[in-house]
């Protein structure tokens, strides 16, 4: 059960192919698998469909795969903060499927958990409901959303052991566990691989069964909006 790979490119060897469907963790630029994204850029894999809450910014995160025109379609809840995204979308070079943020997270968890579909109130009576089955439960309308299963999940965690048990840090957890769950193969990049047995079994956020390959690396962890207050104000 060798899961640890030397580089992000090695960790992706044999699992990339044109036209594939990738689920990616991260929210904004927080907790994104930046090393794996760069390795996918280097691999040049094309016509990607990517499910990710956001698409990075122009020069960081998934945005770098827009620059190289490797993405055919995004499934996201929010794509502001990215001028190249807008340009490609408006010129119809890029397809976009909006999913409400909670629906996207739940679709990933469902797909990874053998739930083919689920009924949610989110989006009832809006554009999001178009073409979807509506069912009434206890007098309230719900729409049917499908679980999604990706060819590959790419996620970022804080720590891992060599069996793939993952621990996340603060709000960098976000979409990473559900994204990891929904991939047939899941590759995780981490800041630190720790010896087996050094993670508390009660405190593992994502059990190793969900994680097939791990790579350790150095992360830029860029901040999107640096908001602060002055000590004097406290």
């Amino acid at each position: 059960m060798k899961k640890v790979y030397g580089t992000a490119s090695e960790a992706l060897e044999g699992v990339l192919h044109d036209g594939m469907f990738i689920a990616a963790g991260g929210f904004g630029l927080c907790g994104i698998p930046e090393l794996l994204i760069a390795a996918i850029r280097d691999a040049g894999t094309k016509d990607l469909t990517i499910a990710s809450n956001n698409c990075g910014i122009d020069d960081f995160g998934l945005g770098i795969l827009l620059q190289t025109r490797q993405i055919r379609k995004m499934i996201s809840s929010y794509v502001g903060e990215n001028a190249e995204f807008m340009r490609q979308y408006l010129s119809k070079e890029l397809e976009l499927e909006f999913n409400p943020q909670g629906t996207l997270a739940e679709r990933m968890r469902a797909g990874g958990s053998g739930i083919a579909g689920f009924y949610t109130k989110t989006g009832v009576g809006t554009m999001i409901a178009e073409g979807k089955e509506v069912k009434t439960f206890d007098g309230q309308d719900y729409i049917l959303e499908r679980g999604i299963v990706a060819d590959l999940s790419i996620v970022k965690a804080w720590k891992a052991d060599d069996t793939g048990n993952l621990v996340f840090r603060k709000t960098a957890r976000n979409f990473n566990p559900p994204a990891a769950m929904c991939g047939r193969i899941c590759v995780a990049e981490v800041e630190e691989i720790v010896p087996r047995g050094s993670l508390d079994p009660d405190q593992i956020h994502l059990p190793g069964i969900y994680v097939h390959r791990i790579v350790q690396g150095t992360h830029e962890k860029r901040i999107e909006q640096r908001t602060t207050r002055k000590k004097e104000d406290a």
Binding site: W158, R173, P178
Partner: protein, 213 residues
């Protein structure tokens, strides 16, 4: 269309919205004016949820103490409190959809008299996405909208029917604007309160939606 009356400023609107919150509530605040509400909760015991995966959101960090792993749903650096917990996005929206959040205070582009809300898209112009707004309005206990009563052209943003793509259908409970406070009730909107210096005639004149007694 009449000349736009002034009424409350952004901070007074936020302060009025803060009055909606009660001790012990878990609350989600949208971006813009709703974010300012946190400044006016006083000593009420309010726990702020950030839908990217956090309960117990603290203030901005001191300069130099920003943590890239600790941001809010507006992607701003923030801090944690002694009650804070972190969780993944599926769990976060589970608690939102499941009605565990007592109230969401959100901005709006348009609200209709039946409680319809539009705040995520202007076709052909603004295509950023709904983020978590559709989940919030569908799931939380009470949806309070804080917005300017009229747009810059002096047109009512409180309408008979929304013209923009909806965020949610019949989801708004209360609207707090620069001119006052209105509730969504059967048949239309009811004026609950007037901003200082605003008359009932002024708020009626500034509102396209039907106002009922």
């Amino acid at each position: 269309m009449t000349e736009a009356p002034k009424g409350w400023d952004r901070n007074r609107m936020a302060a009025r919205a803060a009055e909606e919150l009660e001790d012990g509530m878990y609350v989600n605040l949208g971006i813009g004016i709703p974010t300012l509400v946190a400044n006016y909760v006083g000593d009420k015991d309010i726990t702020l949820q950030s839908e990217n995966g956090m309960l117990g959101m603290g203030p901005f960090p001191f300069e130099g103490e920003e943590d890239p792993d600790l941001i809010n749903a507006g992607k701003q650096t923030i801090t944690e409190l002694d009650r804070t917990s972190y969780f993944d996005s599926a769990t976060s929206f589970g608690m939102i959809r499941g009605g565990k959040i007592a109230a969401a205070i959100l901005g709006a582009m348009e609200v209709a008299e039946n409680g319809d809300l539009a705040n995520w898209m202007i076709p052909g112009k603004l295509i950023k996405g709904m983020g978590g707004a559709m989940d919030l309005v569908a799931g939380v206990g009470r949806v309070i909208v804080v917005m300017d009563h009229q747009n810059k052209a002096g047109e009512s943003k409180i309408l008979r029917e929304c013209t923009l793509p909806l965020t949610g259908k019949g989801v708004v409970d209360r609207i707090i604007t620069n001119l006052g406070v209105l509730d969504v009730v059967p048949g239309g909107l009811r004026i609950v309160e007037l901003a200082e210096g605003i008359s009932e005639d002024q708020i009626r004149a500034a509102t396209q939606a039907k106002i009922v007694d």
